[in-house]
Symmetry: C2
Subunit: 596 residues, 2 copies
């Protein structure tokens, strides 16, 4: 394994490994998509860590995992199958390799996990280093900040490596980052002068960046002891692309017992010109760098631009995902009304509550998986006060290549029990606009959920205002299929054809409240609920609840995914694996039809 | 209203108001219970704020709300009915008064909410001050830290008032707090000398504390610019009990447009000797200062002490609730194995995941309502890795006097859909031990939920290891009552008597997985599910799901609370309001029995 070869290497050999890794990364990501820029930035750091430390005895904990590809290559994984079904995950996963010390799909967990591992190690009297990687954007996340501030006595043999590439996924406005950019070392590693002399050797974008760091150094030199007060010996900033320097510093750190915070400055996209110039665009590149069109995200972006034009109270809130949720155009057109909270979902939601309380109409645009971070804030700050915040929940349902850390499968069952909240699932982009306008007219907390990727127009029919009403898309006398969510509705229409039966397909665009009028009307029929999500707690569960709450016996079959974590593959493959394809539904419709 | 009288007052008159308020507080809290200590500490601060600012035009946002009683008295509320049904809430609530600018039951929200309100104000071109209160313990919470660090450009006319009483609910070990205690002002308000001279006038515990602040001042004077870098003008520390000083400082702050961080040092329990001496004990006093015995919390504490004796890998994790969850004895006996994360639920859970990964057997003891803060961490860090973390979820179900911000009604439906997690609900303290041992033997993520307050022993019968099996507590040929949770089971037994029918009472101590053997066996009977929680997404929903997933028509009636926020009252009153009393169940059993 490459890890064994790199162990102890230095100089030209180390540089050659780094060069090879970078090339391999570029090729693989070009082929498969993935988080390109951040991975290119940490090639030297990763090589240096593997040169100095004894993994997997020592534990390397990533944060987010967008920086783990070089680590994956070094530890014997190929990226040929990256993010494909059965292939290598886009994130570190202990199930994949013993070198992956901890899962890392969501931001800000590495320091807390590292502190936990240190506690275990020390109580058990074991001896190894715990190294928590963290990016500068993740550092502003609540989980990370809690862990960093939690105790002034940090454990021994604990190293936090800050990969400071100077930008969040989009851009980093945080006070913390500004402080970071002003930081310097008081220790021997980076004396002011030697740092300056290195700095001036650099050219291009990176040199410019280092000079910016330098520019602000003077004022802060010997003044900043932020991390020292949090119990770390602070070392840095070091040049995260200078292998010689990195290996030297890490070798010293290996000998230290005291907790260390190593601040490495890197360049996102390093080595790939287009990515260096526009790293945000290359953060998570789809395969062949193509970007999706006709998606809910794009439709939402356009819609919000239109509605913002009409209503000066409309504001958009995102958590470091301006581009991902479709708000780039909004950000350009309404810069004062776009609030990017950074990777701070809790802050984003509570801030939105404050905005609503103050008279605005905030729209929180967020991925389903990240909304999990703000569950309490949704309950406590938004819904308890019945504030008119609209949550536009992107990537609901199967997410495809991002895999098990990012599935949009939890938020529905968690939100269903939150009072005052209305939940919608439009069947296509045209209906998104109708639902949004209806939700906005209600003036109460609303959640609108939709999947990622291509969204075919299913032909909106009932453009009525009252969206608590479901819509029969295809009538029939047989089994009634209650489908909820864009992909489920599309599959249900397809399933009807394949089933060859006279079933009725209903678009259940409101999940909370349910359209009880329809439920009462169909109570004597055979009913199948169909959705892209867990059976447990989802839309079908709500329907079953309804009938059970009034003790009405019904011939009801609910279809949903078995309750297990679902790994990376395409969203369609994931649906097939969970027996939620159009074909699976067609078979169920036919079988149910034939029952007496 | 007192607010009008206090406006503009100063000197002796202000002090007299403060004295009156303190007396009234002591009386009311002695009578009704409540968060005593923290409220006594902010009397002068509150009077000073009301003297200087124009509430409710200006907005006062509390954090947690444990400091809002003086504010409530000033704004025309009486504490006679504090936390009683139909009476005054223990927390600020906009539904109660226009002076309550934002809800505040959970920690760390005030700064984020304040920033949101400022954004709204500025976009709408309005003009008022937004003042966010925050305690030093809350400051370490992720939501608060995210908001403080979020942007280096803070809005104008925004004031954060830090009530620094030098302790979290239990004790504050955080690095942030240590920094706070070392802070000082560079501005004219508190020059070093004038601060010292004031300090030496103080005697007793408070004087000692101020001297401690002073002691560390020298080293940090003019060095700390933590909050300045976060975009605030930092002012402090000021003596939070010196009305003259407070009014002077606040009057100056009122004139400033720039964002201000005011650091006030206070004494928790000020003016009540017993509370001053032992403020942790008096944090949340039950009525007449009595402490509950024979509760699940007490039982859990004892159990963990025993199990920790046997198993050196067992560790307990709490989030600033050592006492509340019953871990005081554990903390004394096993100080190295008690991890108090502060009010940092996210950090607590991810740390526990790291501990489990490192070979420990962490038990996370937490209130249901606070677990909402760590929903993502439970999914992503614990369950995705299938780690053996046991969650002991206290205050599940109706919480009584703490009211709608603290109900333990969300965590069950949110957790039900999390793969790998097992969920238990023991019927009494004896069964808690059995369930705990069983959960521990499984070596996978487990959640054990139980209510607060007195827990009668219901007579454990089947002390078998296999707790995926439900237990028939009272046999019968009629309706089958599936009861889940200690209070539901107790009420079901009582309801059987009252119903006068031959119903069967089953103790459904495992919620996930369900005991499908029983469900299959009773499928042709009339079934009632009964629990203390929302109908939506709860235990009954799981039962309905089970039958609907296999398309089995059943005569099933699920009983649970309507999906609304439930205000303060006793837990029994809350059950009655939600039609979940023993009597309600008895009526349902009888009616169902009589159906054909």
């Amino acid at each position: 394994m490459l890890a064994d070869e790199i162990k102890g290497c230095n100089g030209k050999r180390a540089e050659e490994y780094a060069r090879q890794l970078r090339e391999e990364l570029l090729g693989a990501v070009r082929e498969n998509g993935g988080h390109l820029s951040s991975n290119l930035g940490v090639v030297e750091l990763t090589v240096a860590l593997y040169s100095v430390f004894d993994f997997p005895k020592d534990k390397l904990i990533f944060d987010v995992g967008h920086q783990s590809y070089a680590h994956k290559l070094i530890t014997g994984r190929t990226l040929d199958t990256l993010r494909k079904k059965g292939g290598v995950s886009g994130f570190p996963d202990p199930e994949e390799s013993e070198y992956d010390a901890f899962i890392a799909g969501h931001s800000g967990t590495s320091v807390a996990a590292g502190l936990g591992m240190c506690a275990a190690r020390d109580l058990r009297g074991e001896d190894y280093k715990v190294i928590s990687f963290i990016g500068d954007a993740s550092l502003g996340n609540g989980t990370a900040l809690e862990a960093i501030f939690a105790t002034e006595k940090k454990p021994e043999n604990f190293v936090v490596v800050l990969n400071d590439n100077g930008m969040s996924i989009d851009k980093n406005h945080s006070a913390l980052y500004r402080s970071l950019s002003k930081m310097t070392a008081k220790r021997r590693y980076r004396t002011f002068n030697s740092f300056l002399s290195r700095t001036f050797k650099e050219t291009g974008a990176f040199g410019k960046k280092l000079r910016k760091v330098k520019y602000t150094l003077k004022g802060w030199l010997n003044k900043n002891d932020f991390f020292e007060r949090c119990g770390f010996k602070y070392i840095g900033p070091v040049n995260g692309h200078d292998l010689h320097e990195l290996i030297e510093v890490l070798t010293d750190i290996k000998k230290l017992r005291e907790p260390v915070f190593l601040h490495a400055v890197t360049l996102k996209g390093k080595g790939y010109e287009a990515a260096e110039a526009d790293p945000a665009r290359f953060h998570g590149v789809a395969r062949n760098f193509a970007s999706g069109e006709n998606s809910f995200s794009v439709a939402l972006g356009r819609l919000l631009c239109e509605r913002a034009q009409e209503d000066p109270a409309l504001a958009a809130v995102t958590a470091a995902m301006t581009d991902g949720v479709g708000l780039s155009e909004f950000a350009e057109k309404f810069p004062t009304r776009l609030f990017d909270a950074g990777i701070c979902e809790e802050y984003a939601v509570t801030m939105a509550a404050g905005m609503a309380k103050g008279g605005l109409r905030p729209v929180v645009c967020i991925y389903s998986t990240f909304l999990q971070r703000a569950y309490d804030q949704i309950i406590h700050d938004v819904c308890l006060q019945n504030l008119p915040v609209i949550f536009c929940i992107d990537r609901a349902g199967f997410v495809g290549a991002d895999g098990k850390t990012h599935q949009g499968l939890f938020e529905l069952s968690a939100l269903r029990s939150v009072p005052n909240l209305r939940i919608f699932a439009p069947k296509d982009c045209a209906e998104l606009a109708d639902v949004f306008d209806y939700a906005k007219s209600l003036g109460v907390p609303c959640a609108i959920r939709y999947p990622n990727g291509y969204a075919p127009n299913l032909g909106s029919r009932q453009k009525i205002g009252d969206y608590y009403r479901w819509e029969t898309l295809s009538d029939g006398d047989g089994v009634v299929v209650l489908a909820s969510g864009a992909r489920a509705v599309a599959r249900a229409l397809e399933a009807k054809k394949r089933s060859g039966t006279d079933c009725r397909i209903v678009n259940c665009r409101t999940i909370k409240p349910l359209d009880e009028r329809v439920l009462r009307e169909i109570a004597d029929k055979k009913i199948i609920t169909f959705e892209e999500g867990y059976l447990s707690g989802g839309f079908g569960s709500a329907v079953a609840e309804y009938y059970a709450s009034c003790a009405q016996p019904v011939r009801l079959k609910i279809m949903g995914a078995e309750n297990k974590f679902i790994p990376h593959a395409t969203a369609e493959e994931q649906a097939q694996d969970c027996r939620l394809s159009a074909n699976d539904l067609a078979l169920k419709i036919r079988a149910f039809s034939e029952q007496p």
